[in-house]
Each structure stands twice: as C-alpha cells, then as structure tokens.
C-alpha cells in the first residue's frame, strides 16, 4: 500500500493531530480571550473527525496500516465515534465552569483534542509499540488536564498523583510488553498470537501478559489498580472529571479488549481467570466503597470502578458475544456518565459548584426537570428497567452465562443489588427529603442539552432502539474474531 493510500485511511487522526497543532499556534497568538472560539473550533474538529470515520476519502474501507501497527476495522470505528463524541461533549460542557473559575485558557480544548487523538490510536493499535504510543499520547494530555486548575491544591495534587501512578502503570505495561516480545520475538499482535498458539510451555508469555493486564487495568481503573480514581476524580476540575469518566475509560477498555482477543486468543484459559478476578474485585469495590461517600464526584468514581467491573464480566467471557457486550455496556456507560456529570455541573449555587450529595435534597420540588433527568440516569446506572443501563447489564451477564461463567454473573447481580442502594440514596434525597436551597436555574444550553439528551437516550430512545446498538456492537466485535 502506498503512503498516500495508507494516509487516506487515517483522515480522522490527521485532522485531529494537525488541527490541534493549528489551534495551539492560533491560541498562542490570540491569547486566552480567544478560548471560547478555540473551544468551538475544537468541537468542530472532533465532530469532523467523527464524520470522517465513516466517510473518509478511502470510503468505508477497512485495512491494516503501517505494517500491521494499526487496524481500521468496525471495532475501531465503533469506539472512535464514541470517543470523539464524548470528547466533544467534554469541551461543550466545560464552558461555563471554566469561565466561572477563571480557567478559560485556550489549552483546555487543545489538550482534549490531543487526548482524543491518543485514544483514537489506542483503539486502532495492533502492535505493542503503537499501543504504547497511543496510551502515552492520551495519558500526558490527561495528566495536565487533571492539574488544569493550577492554583488549586486539590487539582495539582490530583494531577501529580495521576502522573506518578500513571507512570508506574506505564512501566508495568512496558515491562509486560518486553516480556511478551522476548518470548514471541515480535511486537505485532498477529505474530504474538501465532507464536503463543504454537508453543506449549508459555509461562514467560503469561508473565508478560499479567503485567500488561495490570498496566491496562490501571488505565480503566479496575480494582485492585483503582486507588487513584477517587482522589483524581475529586481533585480535578469537574468538567475534566466528566471527561475522565467517559472517553478514556472506553478507549482503555477497547484497547484491553483488542489486546486480549487478538493477541492472546490461544491462552484464553490463562487470562480469563485474571480478568474474572479483576471484575469481581472491581464490582465489590464499586458496590461497597461508594456507600459511605458524601461527595458526589467520589461517589461517581467508585461507581465507575464498579461499572468497569461489569464491563470486564463481558470481556472475561472471552467470546465474540462477550466483546460485543463490552461495547454495548461501554457505549451506554459513556452516554449516561456524560449526562450524570452534566447534572453535577448544574449543581451550581451562588459561589460556585457544590459537590455534596445532600445538596440534591428535595430537588424534585425545587427543580423538577433536573430531578427527573437525574432519576432516570441513576436508575440507569443502577441497571433497573426500563432504562438502558438494564440492557447493558443484561448483555454482559448473558455473555458470561453463555460462556459457562454463571458464578461470575451471580457475583455481578449481587454487586448490582448492593450498588443499587447508593443510587437509590440519591433518589431518596431528591424525592423524599425537604428541599435544600435551589440551584441556579439557568444552566446554559450545552449542559441542558447534554443532560436531557443523555436522559432521553437512557429512556425511552435506547429502550426502544437497543436492537440497532446491539447489531452495531455485534459487527464491531466480529472484526476481532
């Protein structure tokens, strides 16, 4: 394939990379007063990239690029569209907050675009080197974003914590990667898979594999590598937290899924129990630790750990159906997380954002639409029908049961019954308690749109049209097998 042909498949990435540079230069010349316009341009770039995923000049083609370093397939496309969409929402939802906190700097949208670029590489990576490149591109942008409020102790602490632990996990990943390379003699996923399947004694490979899983589990914040999550979520500026909770999780989960399914299908029996244990630990941490939280951002951090656990249940199945269920789960998770954080960003009183769960008391009396949105989202997070969150749970448990891991599904349902408690607690505050002072009524168009859109997607849109989503995820998963 000629270089021009190869590049014609990478239009979304090219648009993001070149666009981010251009915006950075523009920002340097125009200064922070152009932050608003640069944000809009960044959103435009992301949406353009999302469109180009499907209508690139190369057509809707699928190909392996750069000597098998990247793969453009249905799986990558599915994830890219979600990542770009989530990143665009993260920029849109931040405008008021950043202006209010005097953080309106032009670097913010540029960093998010760069992170999205990194994630786009991640979901396409089919080589250990490109995998690492994607992760680091993403992570470096995220470290800075976590510390974006540089005058705040909490934010800088969050950034530093994230950076130190992130570097450690990257080290684990690299070490694991080097073991795998040493064992198989290749960094390409396809080659690794071929060698791994051919050899009987693969203890060295499994060693490397476990290290790689540990490093990637850190990125998806699955227990027992979740320690950073609550602190970073709490310390980072809220729109940044909203971004962290959605797109990077999806990208890292997709990367983990692709790595395990494509390069290690021959040793399923070795990684399946590891993933299952991580899933169980994450679900347990998510279910129990969130109960005592009073800060809604910390609560969402533990909740996201739990959700990663459910998604990993699907991955642990090790089947095409399992991968498809991971994608369905993550798509629904990303959509409802964006909405939930939009509501959290609406929890604004004179003097800034409030983060206590108790501030939501009596919301159904003071602001019925907001309470309704949050209720739908919370029941969706809890996985109760008729909301879409229920379908996500159904597909992952179905995949686990189908693969003969009934015990894992049973653990999953117990965890979701326990975690239902803390979601219900917020519902209880909003509906049953006496009202706290009302929040500011005017939330701005973007937040309102994000919150309504997400809630309506959870019920009734996805309730009725979950079939097409499942079909798309099924096609995406089939690309890996």
């Amino acid at each position: 394939m000629s270089l021009v042909e190869t590049l014609s498949f990478t239009w979304p990435e090219l648009v993001l990379a070149i666009g981010a540079m251009a915006l950075l230069i523009t920002g340097v010349f125009l200064g922070d007063k152009a932050a608003g316009r640069i944000s809009m341009a960044a959103v435009g770039l992301l949406l353009l990239a999302a469109v180009l995923v499907f209508v690139s000049p190369a057509g809707a083609g699928e190909a392996s690029l750069f000597d098998g370093a990247f793969e453009i397939d249905a799986f990558a496309k599915f994830c890219k569209v979600l990542v770009f969409g989530a990143a665009a929402f993260a920029i849109l939802m931040s405008d008021r907050y950043l202006a209010g906190e005097k953080l309106g700097r032009f670097e913010y949208p540029v960093l998010i675009v760069l992170a999205a670029f990194g994630m786009s590489l991640m979901v396409s990576a089919t080589d250990l080197i490109s995998l690492y490149m994607g992760i680091e591109t993403q992570s470096l942008a995220l470290y800075i974003l976590a510390a974006f409020n540089r005058d705040s102790h909490r934010s800088t602490e969050a950034g530093l914590k994230y950076f130190v632990l992130g570097a450690l996990s990257s080290g684990l990943l690299l070490y694991g990667g080097s073991l795998v390379y040493g064992f198989t003699g290749s960094t390409s996923f396809a080659e690794i898979a071929r060698v791994a399947a051919a050899v009987d004694n693969n203890i060295g490979l499994v060693f490397g594999l476990v290290f790689m899983i540990s490093g990637l589990a850190f990125k998806v914040s699955a227990a027992p590598f979740h320690m950073w999550t609550p602190d970073v979520y709490e310390g980072a500026p809220t729109p940044v937290t909203a971004f962290f909770a959605a797109a990077p999780k999806l990208a890292a989960m997709a990367l983990l899924t692709r790595t395990l399914s494509v390069s290690f299908p021959g040793v399923v029996g070795d990684w399946q129990p590891v993933i299952a244990m991580i899933a169980v630990a994450s679900m347990a941490v998510g279910a129990f630790s969130a109960i005592a939280q009073t800060n809604i951002k910390r609560l969402m951090a533990y909740s996201s750990i739990g959700h990663m656990g459910y998604a990993l249940v699907g991955l642990a199945a090790g089947t095409s159906q399992g991968v498809s269920s991971v994608l369905i789960y993550m798509a629904i998770y990303v959509a409802m997380t964006i909405g939930t954080f939009a509501v959290i960003l609406m929890m604004r009183r004179r003097g800034g954002l409030t983060e206590n769960i108790a501030d939501l008391s009596g919301l159904s009396r003071t602001n019925m639409p907001m309470a309704l949105i949050m209720t739908v989202l919370l029941f969706s997070l809890a996985g109760v029908p008729p909301t879409a969150g229920f379908f996500g749970k159904w597909f992952v448990f179905l995949a686990a049961v189908d693969a003969g891991m009934i015990w894992l599904a049973v653990v999953g349902v117990f965890a979701s019954a326990i975690s239902a408690f803390y979601y219900l607690r917020i519902v209880w505050y909003m509906w049953f308690d006496e009202p706290a002072p009302a929040f500011e009524r005017d939330a701005g168009p973007t937040l309102t749109f994000a919150a309504w859109g997400s809630a309506l997607l959870m019920f009734p849109i996805l309730t009725v049209f979950v079939g097409p989503l499942a079909d798309a995820a099924g096609r995406a998963a089939a690309a890996l097998f």
């Binding site: 009396r365 749970k393 179905l398 049961v401 117990f414 979701s416 019954a417 219900l424």
Partner: protein, 527 residues
C-alpha cells in the same frame, strides 16, 4: 394465532394508554407557573391538582372500560391458548415485543384496570401534596402492571416486572407516612426505610431470575414464553432455574420467610399504594409461578412441591399468629395477606385442577377483599391520622354504615361462605387434600386463626363504648367511600355466590397447564 402488532394492538393500547395519561399530566404540570423556589405557584396549584385528578380518573376509567370491551367482544374464553397476540421486533436475536393473554392472565388485567380508578378516587382528598406527581406515578405503575400480565416474552415480562419497582418506590417514599426508624446506626424516616427495603428485597430476588433467563436464552435461543413452555429443559438444570425463579416470585408473593418487607411497605404506603400492593403487585408472584415455574420446570416443581407446601403451611399458621399480636391495623392486614397468599402457593403447587383454580380464584378474591380492607383502614386514617388499633373503639355507634362494610370485608377475609374468600380457600384445600391430607389439615388451622385475628380487630375497633374524646365527632363514610366499597362488596358477593363464570375463564388455561404438566412428569419418569 400470531398476529402482527398493527392488526390487533388491543393489549398494547390497554397497556400504554395510562402512560399517555401520565404524559398528559406532566404537560399540565409543566404549563403551570412556578414560584421562585421552583414549586408550583399557589395561584395555579389548585387548578393543576384538579386537572391532574380528573385526567387520571378519566384515563384510568377509560382504560377499564376499554379493557372490559376487549374482554367482552374480542376475548374468547373457551380457547385454551394465548389470544390477542401481537408481535413486533425489539432487541433482535430471539427477544421481541410480544403480548397476549390467556385464561390465567386476562382476569388479572381486568383486576388491574378495575382497581386503578378506585385508587384514584381513594386518593382524591387524602393526598394533599404533589398531587400531579402522584397521579403520574400511579398511571406509570398501571402501565407496568398491565404489561406484566400481558407480556408473552420472558424478557419483556422481566422488563415490566422490575420496572414496576420504580413508581412504587417513589409512591411509598414520597407520600408515605411520617415517623423515623433506627437502622444499622442510621436514623432515617421510616417511609424511606420501607421503600428501600421494598426495592432492594425485590431487586435481589429478581436479579437471580435475570441470570436464569440469560441461561435459558443461551440454551433455547429465544425468550418467547410459548416456545420456552414447550422447550423441556433438562431435569438437572430445571432445579436451578426453578430456584432462581422461586427467589423472585417468593419475595414478590411474599412467602415466609422473605415476607418481612411487606408489613413495612404496607404500613408506610399511602392508602391507594397499599391497595395496589395488596390487590395487584402481590399477584405477580402467583402469576409468575403459574406462567413460568409450573409449565417450564414441571419436574423441578414436582420435586420442590414439599418445600412449597412446608413454607405455605408455615406462612398460613405463623403469620396468622403474628397477625394476632399486631397493634397496627395495616400491619395486621399485611400479615393476613401473607397468610392468604400461603393458600395460593399451596394450591398452585398441588398441580391439581382444584388447587390451581383455587389459587387463581383466591388471588382474585384476595384482590377485592384485602384491597377493600386497606380502603377501610384508609377511611378512618383520613379522619384520625392513626392506624393504631388502640386509638379506636366503639366506632359502630358513630359509623354504622362503615361498621357494616368493614364487617362484610372482615368476614370475607375470614373466608365465610357466601363471600369470595370462601371459594378460593376451599378449592385450594381440596386440591391439597388430594395430594396429602395432612397439608389440608394444617392449612385449615389458618382459617380458624384468621377468624381469630380478624374478629379481634373488628371487636377492638368497632365495639365497646365510644369513650375516646377524639372519636366523638367522627363522621360516617361519605358517598365517595361508600361507592368504592360498595362496588368491591358487590364483586366479592358475586364471586362468592356465583364463582362459576370466573372459574370457567380459568378452566381452559388451567386444564391445558395441568395436561402439559402431567405429560412432562410422565415423560420425566416422576409419576
């Protein structure tokens, strides 16, 4: 038999019409002026509340009338299989939207649509805060409850079954009674405690059903109920599946020992909430046993029937004794519900015609009678704002009409011949007698005990001298309460004197069920 969604959407209309009513009320509510703090402005409040009440009443009555029309004109009670079937594509891969009714479910659909206008009327004046929200919650609940009885797809059934938790959770939590409760070091309002307990108990039970459903889907490739009923799962797997379904339905029913959420939920719920809970929500458990456990897992059902009998007998005797000791009227009736549901489970799992028809009849009759009893408690609660038995006494002197109605439903609860309660209990016991005379012997104690606690309640509330100062001016039932209770009394009497029509609706479906059940047992080598 299989029809498309468009050619006969009757069940879908019945199911989703209340939802449209709820949306209408939401629109009314949104149109109202709001105060600075976000609540409806006092100027508009009265109008909004009035509109919400009338919309709810008109919609729920229209749904009832329409469902009666569908029953009378389109439903053929002599056919054994599913009727009015409609199908549409939904999730794909064997999970679809499929609705239909048969002799087992049609009367529960009617029971649901019948009780909704009653609930709206019962809440007319007794609900004073957030009336529009309340009516929305009830109409949404109605949609979900009808959906449970109409669903012919297991996934769809689960969808409605668990979805019905949400509105009920809000109804108990928002409009429940006052008071606080200590639990695990927390002090929380007791209505919140009750709502959470209700939600989490039922959720945990039904999540096990979810896993069983996933397994069945993985094996059979579909969640279509008629197909699954013919599927003949292997006997070893049936046990586990049966237990998973049992976990869900036993909590819902509720059976001893997982019944403890019910008294809390009943006590805290507003009157109409208790009525719906007793009259309809509890029936979902028994309905589930008949629709799923017995036809899909016949061998496991036969194997586990001794367990069911034991639990039923314990429920009948133990909860009756507990009812004897209650100080709270609603709690007493709640425990008596558990005892009466014991007859239902006992009857169903005998696998005999009398037992199954008796169980079904008992559910229907219990709907009318216990629903009416909760309404009766609501009548005095609205006046005195207490449910304590000790706070009353000698009401017969001030409220003769009320005393008469209450007596009728008390005797119906006891199972006096001539009331519908008698028919269900005697049939269920006949069925049990055929299987094992000891079961019937112990169950008969329940009848005696129910007379003891029900008449004790009646004596303490109604008889004696009217000494309490607060009761001196208590007015008798008004025309609104009279109408509700009168209609229920008419039904209870009609079913008691003439159970034939209802039984003949049950009969074809019950016969088919028993035929398949016995055939499956014979094939499995159990009999």
């Amino acid at each position: 038999m299989t029809e498309s969604f468009a050619s006969q959407p009757w069940l879908s209309i019945i199911t989703f019409a209340p939802l449209i009513g709820a949306i209408l009320i939401a629109v009314i509510r949104m149109g109202a002026k709001k105060t600075e703090s976000g609540e409806i402005a006092p100027a508009d409040l009265e109008q909004v509340e009035k509109n919400a009440r009338w919309t709810a009443l008109v919609i729920s009555t229209a749904v009832f009338v329409f469902s009666v029309f569908v029953y009378a004109a389109l439903y053929n009670p002599s056919i054994a299989g599913y009727q009015l079937v409609e199908q549409a594509k939904w999730i794909g891969g064997g999970i679809g939207y499929k609705m239909g009714v048969d002799g087992i479910s049609i009367l529960f659909v009617l029971l649901t649509t019948f009780f909704m206008p009653i609930c709206v009327i019962a809440s007319w004046n007794s609900i004073k805060s957030r009336v529009a929200d309340y009516m929305i919650a009830f109409l949404v609940l109605e949609t979900l409850m009808i959906g449970v009885f109409c669903a012919l797809d297991l996934f769809l059934f689960y969808f409605f079954f668990e979805g019905s938790l949400i509105p009920m959770f809000l109804i108990i939590g928002v409009w429940g009674s006052k008071g606080t409760k200590e639990f695990a070091g927390f002090t929380m309002p007791s209505k919140v405690y009750a709502a959470l307990k209700f939600f989490l108990y039922t959720l945990l039970g039904s999540l096990l059903l979810l896993i069983a459903m996933a397994w069945m889907y993985a094996k059979a490739g579909t969640t279509d109920i008629p197909t699954l009923q013919q599927f003949a799962f292997p006997a070893g797997a049936q046990k586990w599946l049966w237990l998973a379904f049992f976990a869900s339905f036993a909590v819902k029913m509720p059976m001893w020992p997982v019944h403890t959420w019910l008294p809390d939920a009943h006590v805290q719920a507003p009157t109409a909430g208790s009525v719906v809970l007793a009259a309809i929500l509890l029936k979902m458990g028994g309905y589930g046993f008949l629709r799923f456990s017995l036809p899909m897992f016949p061998i496991a059902s036969a194997d586990f029937s001794p367990l069911i009998f034991a639990l039923s007998i314990i429920a009948i005797i133990y909860t009756s004794l507990v009812a004897l000791a209650q100080e709270d009227m609603k709690k007493l009736i709640a425990y008596s519900s558990v005892a009466h549901m014991g007859f239902v489970t006992m009857g169903i799992f005998t696998g005999t015609k009398q037992g199954i028809e008796g169980g079904l009849f008992q559910m229907l009759s219990h709907g009318f009678i216990s629903g009416a009893l909760f309404l009766c408690v609501g009548v005095v609660y609205d006046r005195m704002h207490t449910r304590e038995i000790a706070a009353y006494g000698g009401l017969v002197h001030r409220m003769p009409l009320y005393a008469f109605l209450f007596l009728f439903f008390t005797l119906g609860n006891v199972g006096l011949p001539g009331t519908s309660g008698f028919v269900g209990e005697i049939l269920a016991m006949t069925g049990a007698f055929k299987v094992n005379s000891w079961i019937a012997f112990f169950a008969a104690f329940g009848v005696i005990l129910s007379a003891a606690y029900a008449l004790r309640l009646y004596r303490q509330v109604m008889y004696g001298d009217l000494t309490k100062e607060a009761l001196m001016q208590i007015p008798d039932v008004n025309w609104r309460e009279m109408a509700m209770l009168g209609v229920l009394m008419a039904f209870a009497l009609y079913l008691g004197f003439n159970p034939g029509p209802a039984l003949s609706v049950f009969a074809p479906a019950a016969d088919l069920l028993i035929e398949n059940y016995n055939a499956a047992l014979a094939a499995g080598g159990v009999m």
